[in-house]
């Protein structure tokens, strides 16, 4: 019996992972991710961008830990280390991320400590260490790939953001959320033209030596919006105050819309240098959108117009629809869910979500329209057909 129990102890962790996945595979309340959805194999710039960026699902397996699965099957675990700080652990497969959470989560791992008695001797760490020393463990010892810090008002009142820093100490991503009810009229009009409500966020991905790689504008998607509206600058548009945000009335989910500009292209980089400036936050130089500060309304309007034109001509548009898990659909929960999807590394709470639909469009292609990412069928309700795109099934 001792020998059998010892063998079971040594192999038990993998068995526990399999049982956990089996138990929770079909149960919504467990929140375990299902297999990755079939993604259309059509090759295009928009598909690549979307798969790398959209969060297929996010859940909170334990207090202070968020597990995010991406469209390319990779995953991140965001662990809160303080009130305003997190650590980010990256995994190539979401199953590995889930196992790591099971092993290292205080909530889930403490069941092993209970075997010693009610006062919870720290047996779990010793057990994992034993597996490591005997060469049976491969995931427990993992260093954080990045850390993130919450910052308040980086782009003026009503804004908050997150700086993501690599393990080497370089700033790799700056994400700022700007609430529209505290924004200037010019920003609200810009957000409305892009089909956002509630808030607009920007995210700058940085490479070595703070070289800009990608600029993304995101926000909760307005229902009554289409690419034709973005492409017709002369058509009259509703003022933001007049919209009723019917998004959650016609759908029962949260829709996130994003526009991604490749900053390695010179034209995009030039515009980026025009509207962003290096500012000091937490004794670190980071690029921030300065249009809301210290400039006139006319200049502000001009900058946003340039941004809008650049997006219209060169961006990748991604629209993802996410079901909220066990949450009522209200303005607040939809905004909170979308903010959680945008500020992925941040130490905030957000409703659990699961992707149910995704569409992308490459705006460099004249007349392009949104095409589904998950089903590979061209929707009939898009304004124009996409010319010359061969779809493939997954």
């Amino acid at each position: 019996m001792l020998l059998a129990a010892s063998i079971a102890l040594v192999t038990g962790r993998d068995l526990a992972h399999h049982i956990t996945v089996a138990v929770c595979a079909d149960a919504d309340d467990c929140g375990t991710f299902p297999d990755s959805p079939p993604v259309c194999q059509y090759y295009g710039r928009d598909r690549v961008v979307a798969r790398e960026s959209f969060a297929f699902a996010q859940q909170w397996p334990a207090d202070g830990s968020r597990l995010i699965q991406f469209g390319d099957d990779s995953a991140e675990v965001i662990v809160a280390t303080g009130k305003d700080t997190t650590e980010v652990y990256r995994f190539n497969r979401w199953e590995d991320a889930q196992r790591w959470v099971i092993d290292n989560s205080t909530d889930l791992g403490n069941t092993a400590d209970a075997a010693a008695g009610p006062w919870r001797v720290p047996v779990r760490e010793g057990y994992l260490r034993m597996l490591l020393l005997t060469g049976l463990d491969h995931e427990s010892e993992r260093a954080a790939a990045a850390s993130a810090f919450l910052v308040e008002e980086p782009s003026g009142p009503g804004t908050h953001g997150v700086l993501r820093q690599s393990a080497e100490g370089d700033i790799r991503e700056v994400t700022v959320v700007m609430a529209l009810d505290e924004a200037t009229d010019e920003l609200r009009e810009y957000a409305s033209n892009l089909g956002f409500w509630g808030f607009i966020s920007y995210s700058v991905d940085l490479g070595p030596e703070l070289s800009p790689q990608r600029l993304t504008f995101s926000g909760p998607a307005t229902d009554a919006w289409s690419l034709a509206q973005l492409r017709a600058p002369s058509s009259p548009r509703n003022r933001p105050e007049a919209e009723e945000h019917p998004q959650y009335m016609s759908h029962e989910n949260a829709v996130l819309r994003s526009f991604v500009l490749d900053l390695r292209q010179e034209a995009n980089a030039a515009l980026y240098r025009e509207v962003f400036a290096m500012e000091s936050i937490l004794e670190t130089a980071v690029p921030l959108l300065t249009s809301e500060n210290w400039i006139s309304a006319g200049e502000r309007s001009e900058r946003y117009t340039h941004l809008e034109e650049r997006i219209r001509d060169n961006a990748v548009a991604v629209e993802t629809t996410h079901a909220l898990q066990d949450e009522p659909i209200t303005d607040e929960t939809v905004q909170s869910a979308v903010e959680g999807l945008v500020v992925q590394a941040g130490p905030m709470t957000a409703p659990e979500t699961r992707l149910i639909d995704a569409r992308t469009a490459d705006l460099t292609i004249a007349g392009s329209s949104f095409e589904p990412l998950l089903s590979c069928e061209v929707l009939e309700d898009d304004a124009e057909e996409a010319p010359g795109h061969g779809g493939g099934s997954s």
């Binding site: 001792l2 129990a5 079971a8 010693a116 008695g117 057990y127």
Partner: protein, 177 residues
């Protein structure tokens, strides 16, 4: 009053039983704990496992002491044997794991060590109390003779060795008296 030393054959049997139980309950906690905790929550599953551990140790204490009681051993001998077997078995499993677990912590090592030692001492005390309870519970029932049934622990070699050894011990004590 000086406590008698343990009855070594019974001590060996008890040590093996506590070792086996400790490893088994830990394996159960490692395998079943996380999926159950995912469904039911960590607190309730941890409570169930802790209760299982306590009752299991009481059962082991009862089994370990049964032969000694039925051989009319003195309570002090029974308790010293079963408690020392429990202590040795418990620490053999959980002390190395605790030490290994402490080696993974970095900052705050002193406070982590102190709290871990305290938790280990409290849990060990709990285990000893459970074992003692189990041994005392069976004391009344085991003192009467019983007919061995077809499947009975008295058939196990180690238990026969305990009975024979105890009979010799009793005979020597009468001679010396």
């Amino acid at each position: 009053m000086k406590l008698p030393g343990p009855h070594w054959p019974a001590f060996r049997a008890g040590l093996l039983m506590h070792l086996a139980f400790g490893v088994t309950i830990l394996a159960v906690a490692v395998i079943i704990g996380p999926p159950l905790a995912w469904v039911l929550g960590e607190e309730s599953v941890s409570t169930m496992i802790a209760l299982l551990a306590v009752s299991g140790r009481a059962l082991v204490g009862a089994l370990n002491s049964r032969q000694l009681w039925s051989a009319a051993a003195a309570p002090s001998l029974v308790l010293s044997t079963t408690l020392s077997a429990c202590l040795a078995g418990y620490l053999s499993v959980f002390l190395p794991l605790t030490v290994l677990g402490l080696s993974t912590t970095g900052s705050g090592l002193v406070s982590a060590t102190t709290s871990a030692i305290l938790a280990l001492a409290l849990d060990c005390t709990f285990a000893l109390l459970a074992t003692c309870s189990g041994a005392l519970i069976v004391s009344g029932r085991s003192k009467r003779r019983y007919r061995p049934r077809r499947f009975q622990m008295s058939r196990l070699p180690v238990i026969r060795e305990i009975s024979e050894s105890f009979s010799e011990h009793q005979a020597k004590a009468r001679l010396n008296a």
